[in-house]
Symmetry: C2
Subunit: 178 residues, 2 copies
């Protein structure tokens, strides 16, 4: 029986760079180029003048399948996977059309993650793990283990949880503990 | 903040009557009628002479979408849903093509279950709840709450966990506790 600690890792905004994808979709739709700096600290639905824009992009076929990967996510998650029980936990159920896209995205970019390690849910309150890495405070608030807020444009002003600034920072957090 | 207890309820073999579906698919394929009595106590892959038969049926489009419902499941789960935090937790990730079928099956037959209450996973070891209702001992073994084995043809000889013989029995278990 393994005694390894368990880490629950979020997808959107943590493994995937949703922000870059939103900005690219918005530029394609409107011709307006918005910079990353302009949306710092804003919730998703306030990034663009049209409050429905983000939900419109999320509903487009292939949005989730073509998300760019956050820097160093592949390398660091692979290393974590060698030393911890890693689960990829995504609140995908709000967007049921994303389920297969997310599954295939993981299979392509994180092939070392087996189907046993994937969890698609709605409310993360049901998750039991030692660590949770997430970009949304509301997911971390119901978690009873060590809550780690992954740095993301919309959460830069949050101070409630320990922050991981990047995947390199996450690597230091887990591997410099001795 | 709700103080209601949490129940994690499995789909295949618990909400759904997979056995009846296997026997119907087998009859359609081979013309051989096998009775429920003949497969009592047998693991899924030993129900039919061809050990691949069950996996072949599971892989057929619409298998999961057209599963029959276990008797009284709808009524009792609705009553549980009024008094507990109910999650439907299915190890669906082994069959990624089932994800959307299972989502739509729940939407049709259990419309009172919201997307927030659905969990599709691989390994149920990540689930935190007060009760788990499941037909497989291996799912209950990694669970730290109250494990309840739902009666199913393949588990009739198991004695490791408290058994719920039917959904009516489940109703008595949860509502006659006083």
């Amino acid at each position: 029986m393994s005694k390894r600690e368990t880490i629950a890792i979020d997808m959107d905004g943590v493994l995937a760079n949703n922000m870059a994808h939103y900005l690219a979709y918005h530029f394609r739709e409107t011709g307006i180029r918005i910079t990353e700096t302009e949306i710092q600290g804003k919730p998703e639905e306030q990034c663009f003048e049209d409050p429905d824009a983000v939900y419109r992009y999320l509903a487009m076929p292939d949005f989730f399948r073509t998300l760019p990967i956050n820097p160093d996510a592949q390398e660091v998650v692979q290393r974590l996977n060698d030393h911890f029980n890693v689960y990829i936990v995504s609140a995908a159920m709000e967007f049921p059309w994303s389920l297969v896209e997310k599954y295939n995205w993981l299979a392509e970019h994180f092939p070392f993650i087996s189907w046993q390690q994937i969890v698609f849910c709605g409310d993360k309150g049901i998750v039991k793990a030692d660590y949770m890495i997430d970009d949304h405070c509301y997911n971390l608030q119901s978690f009873s283990g060590n809550s780690l807020l992954f740095n993301c444009y919309h959460n830069i002003n949050e101070t409630e949880f320990e922050r991981l600034n990047s995947w390199k920072d996450a690597e230091r957090y887990f591997f410099s503990k001795g």
